[in-house]
């Protein structure tokens, strides 16, 4: 199954190319935990941005709290620059229903009101349930509805795999 999935590292390189003309020294790059944060780090390095990279944890804005409760969460949102009035590039690994992005936008707004937010997705697997679209996409992929896409890090390299989703 992994064979039909694109190489994550290659996608990051092409995303960096695509983004190069759209960033400046004031652009804030923010990745969503955990996969989006890894991708954001790579892009940050590739683009040589001046502001440090930020991370967003979305636990407190998830809309499935009623079903799954509050799980142990060590990660916290960390935005090492003022959000107010800034152009933000929001980075996630897999764009699917759009719910994660909705939660991330809410979380981001708790820190201030950005001038603009553009969405960067490593891959887009379709299946949107909210009116959300990416501004920059590494690739579109087809995955069975019963599978989920997981970005993992092995020996310093990022890799996409499809796994049977737990029911």
């Amino acid at each position: 199954m992994a064979a039909r999935l694109p190489e994550a590292e290659a996608l990051i390189d092409s995303l960096a190319q695509a983004l190069r003309g759209s960033v400046n020294s004031e652009t804030g790059l923010v990745g969503i935990y955990s996969g989006g944060a890894w991708v954001a780090q790579r892009l940050h390095r590739a683009l040589g941005l001046q502001l440090p990279v930020g991370q967003l944890a979305i636990t407190l804005h998830r809309d499935d709290f009623d079903r799954i409760g509050l799980h142990r969460e060590q990660r916290r949102s960390h935005l090492p620059f003022p959000v107010e009035g800034r152009d933000i590039l929001l980075v996630d690994d897999v764009l699917h229903t759009g719910r994660t992005i909705r939660a991330a936008l809410n979380e981001l707004w708790d820190f201030g009101r950005p001038k603009s937010v553009r969405l960067v997705a490593l891959v887009d697997r379709g299946g949107r349930e909210l009116p959300i679209a990416a501004d920059f996409t590494g690739a579109k992929v087809d995955v069975d509805a019963g599978e989920s896409l997981v970005l993992s890090e092995e020996n310093g390299r990022l890799r996409l795999t499809a796994v049977k989703a737990s029911p």
Binding site: H61, G69, L70, R72, Q74, S77, E84, W109, D110
Partner: protein, 317 residues
């Protein structure tokens, strides 16, 4: 002892009634979750939507504006609807029982009760009779327990000392009447603090307190020697003179935390107090406002710890 009532069959927290009987893992979960909320409270928007659409009732049979306010702030930062009821002595005058009051409120679709009562065990009674899915938080019951205070105290200790496994912690003053002390002792012991001391005159120490796993000291200097954390307790004014103590002054002389007495503790010891303080009785102003005091951070962390408890309970429907 409260284990069966507080934890569901799967071991998840369904009510918070006492720190006694909670596994270390549960305590750490609460503290870790509180970490997240400490950061929320530093943001521009100090509010998250976790409890949106849920109702939390502060049911205080014993008035305490201060404690009630901390629960109220915590609940509002989680976006819950908060209803405050100061029932005091009036409901008993009307002949309505504690359970009648609770059943009435439950009929108004309360999701969570924060209960304070002068009688030990009152929140347990409530917890035993609420519908499944409704959660009870003990905000102080008689001399028995004040678990959120105990938790915010261990949170504060962890924040400053990182590791519980080598600490010497002293609790000073009126242990007998203190629900805070009991909640602190159980939480500290469960989290692995090797030495918890209680310091006070025999009239202010409950019978067999050493069976809670603490070392008993009557001499302040000996008790404070080498301590990493000094927690002083409030001495209620009605107890300052009578059969238990001759006077506030004499208590202060023997057990009030002064810079001289604090010098017996470790140089980097922190000083805590659950508030409100009687300056010049259990603690001198120079200590309360001094460099070793973490009393104000306690108050700040208190909001985050209460948010953590509420969020965990609400998620364990």
């Amino acid at each position: 002892m409260s284990r069966s009532l507080q934890l569901g069959p799967d071991g998840r927290l369904v009510h918070l009634l006492s720190t006694e009987g909670l596994p270390a893992e549960t305590l750490r979960h609460i503290l870790d979750t509180a970490d997240q909320f400490v950061s929320v409270n530093e943001r521009e928007v100090k509010k998250v939507p976790l409890l949106r659409g849920r109702s939390l009732f502060n049911v205080f049979f014993e008035n305490s504006t201060r404690t009630r306010t901390t629960f109220e702030i915590a609940a509002k930062r989680l976006s819950a609807d908060v209803v405050n009821l100061n029932i005091g002595a009036s409901s008993t005058a009307k002949g309505e029982s504690l359970l009648d009051t609770v059943w009435n409120l439950q009929a108004m679709d309360a999701d969570m009760f924060v209960v304070r009562h002068k009688e030990a065990g009152a929140p347990h009674l409530v917890a035993r009779h609420v519908k499944p899915g409704v959660h009870v938080i003990n905000a102080g019951d008689g001399r028995h327990a004040h678990p959120t205070q105990g938790l915010l105290d261990v949170y504060t200790i962890r924040h400053y000392k990182k590791d519980f496994s080598r600490l010497v912690v002293a609790i000073v003053g009126d242990i007998l009447h203190s629900r805070v002390a009991r909640s602190q002792i159980h939480a500290l012991k469960t989290l692995g603090v090797p030495e918890v001391r209680v310091i006070g005159p025999r009239t202010l120490l409950p019978a067999d307190v050493e069976r809670l796993g603490v070392r008993v000291f009557h001499d302040m200097a000996a008790g404070l020697r080498g301590c990493d954390v000094v927690m002083t307790l409030r001495l209620q004014s009605e107890r300052m003179s009578g059969p238990l103590l001759p006077s506030a002054g004499e208590f202060n002389k023997a057990y009030g935390l002064t810079p001289e007495k604090l010098a017996q503790a470790s140089p980097d010891a922190i000083v805590m107090h659950p508030g409100p303080m009687n300056r010049g009785v259990e603690i001198d102003s120079s200590v309360a406002d001094g460099g070793q005091s973490v009393i104000m951070p306690q108050v700040t962390f208190g909001i985050a710890v209460r948010m953590a408890v509420m969020a965990i309970l609400a998620g364990n429907a």
